[in-house]
């Protein structure tokens, strides 16, 4: 049985709780970004680009059974780390679970600055786009 969205968020909060300065946190985030597998070139299409990011970010979604599976990539490694966490939390869940997910972990791990509208790295746009995919799949 897979973890719930809430359980994964709790895991992330615990992992980030181990770091006491920002540099350790960002090194971990960079590491997550480097470890996220590259998105196959065929999915790096104009259609999959998330608008509103300073670096290019691609997000691909697929429905497997009743679950949605996300894959993503970015030119910027910190953004890739952020999206890697979002994938860990949201991928392999049903459209309904994804749509109603409250992503409180972002604030709890001290990354809410990346959620602000003005941040051109577009974490907000990524979350929106993931929820949009869920909405689109649930309508099908």
């Amino acid at each position: 049985m897979a973890q719930s969205i809430q359980e994964t968020q709790e895991d992330l909060i615990e992992e980030f709780g181990l770091f006491d300065d920002w540099a350790d946190k960002y090194e971990y985030l960079i590491d997550l970004g480097k470890k996220l597998p590259n998105l196959p070139e065929v999915f790096k299409t104009e259609e999959n680009v998330i608008k509103g990011c300073q670096s290019r970010v691609w997000l691909h979604a697929d429905k497997q059974g009743d679950q949605i599976v996300f894959e993503a990539d970015s030119e910027a490694v910190i953004v890739k780390g952020l999206i890697s966490m979002l994938i860990r939390v949201l991928s392999n869940h049903t459209a309904e679970e994804i749509m109603k997910a409250d992503l409180y972990f972002i604030d709890q791990i001290g990354m809410s600055q990346h959620l602000a509208q003005t941040r051109s790295n577009g974490l907000l746009s990524m979350v929106k786009q993931m929820k949009n995919y869920a909405l689109a799949f649930s309508a099908k």
């Binding site: 920002w22 300073q54 030119e75 051109s120 790295n121």
Partner: protein, 406 residues
Amino acid sequence: MTLDIQKIRADFPVLDQQVNGSPLIYFDNAATTQKPKSVIDALSHYYALDNANIHRGLHALAERATTAYELTRTKIKEFINAPSSDQIILTAGTTGSINLVAQTFGRANFSKGDKILISNLEHHSNIVPWQMIAEEKGAIIEVIPVDERGVLDLEAFRNLLDASVKLVAVNHVSNAIGTINPIAEMIQLAHAHGAKVMIDGAQSIAHLDIDVQALDIDFFAFSAHKLFGPTGVGVLYGKRELLESMPPYQGGGEMIKEVSFEGTTYNELPYKFEAGTPNIADVIALSAAIDYVNALSKEALFTQELALLAYATEQLSTIPGLKIIGTAPDKIAVISFVIDGIHPQDLGVLLDKFGIAIRTGHHCVQPLMKRFGLPGTCRASFAFYNTFEEIDLFVKALRRSINMLQ
């Protein structure tokens, strides 16, 4: 005159703060400059004591506000050596000034097949307004190329000039890479072919001496916020015969002489182009910014900035994989750079954690980024209140960030 930088820094309240646990290092001066206390005080003084609408009232406050507002116009006239203050049009910014010229001079003078020359260095603000009017009038935009160093190709410029060129619109200084363009020579060449010249002075006004008469500039635009003044104020200088021949821009109060339902006669310069209640407080506070720069002398300030540029260029060059974009021999204190295998955005995020403000991205010059085959760069831009110690801290933080990312 040598500058007492610590004393100068004390004039800028914003510089004295911690960001993410470190003292703020502000290296984003090409985006906007910080404001001395005298500018901030002028704003609150105006609202606390003088606030009134200008030009219309007979009462004491209206009189004081009008006098202060018009005093700024006179100071601007002197600052750029314009022949007369009624050739100083107050706008909302460089963008506003360029759009004004495009929509009035352009509307009256461009016709099908006419050419507008811009350069590969231009900010989107000096591209899009021309595209809009060109599309409407069937005019053609041609682009002066830049070489690998980011220097305009004057030979190509000469070849582009012919009788169909109605306007040359170029920046004095590039915001993205700092190149200072040889505008005196370009203006002479353009005039020899009967073309008028609009200079986007957004990036030169705070650093270079501007004499619109000596340079024989037809139109000159700048923003107060890049001159240590408030946001929301810009200037358009124009030659008298051009401004007088141009149709008005926006309609409204202030820009009219007489209104009836049968027709309206327009006010004289500069009011013809200043419809509605202007940004009174910010215009008045611009006076304080001009006084501040004059008191220290622009030349002394620029000398300090060039020393910072030379030092930073030397220090950055020691970082492996770092490439400076824009190596023109004449530059203001702006350094754009990229680092092998690292996205500029990642550096911007980490430097912010060190309390360092730089700009990353395309800097509103996408065609120039395309010319260099880059999606964007990191840009550090200095002002006279920056220090050599700040550059040392910046280089150290940059090395540490690169280590984290590699």
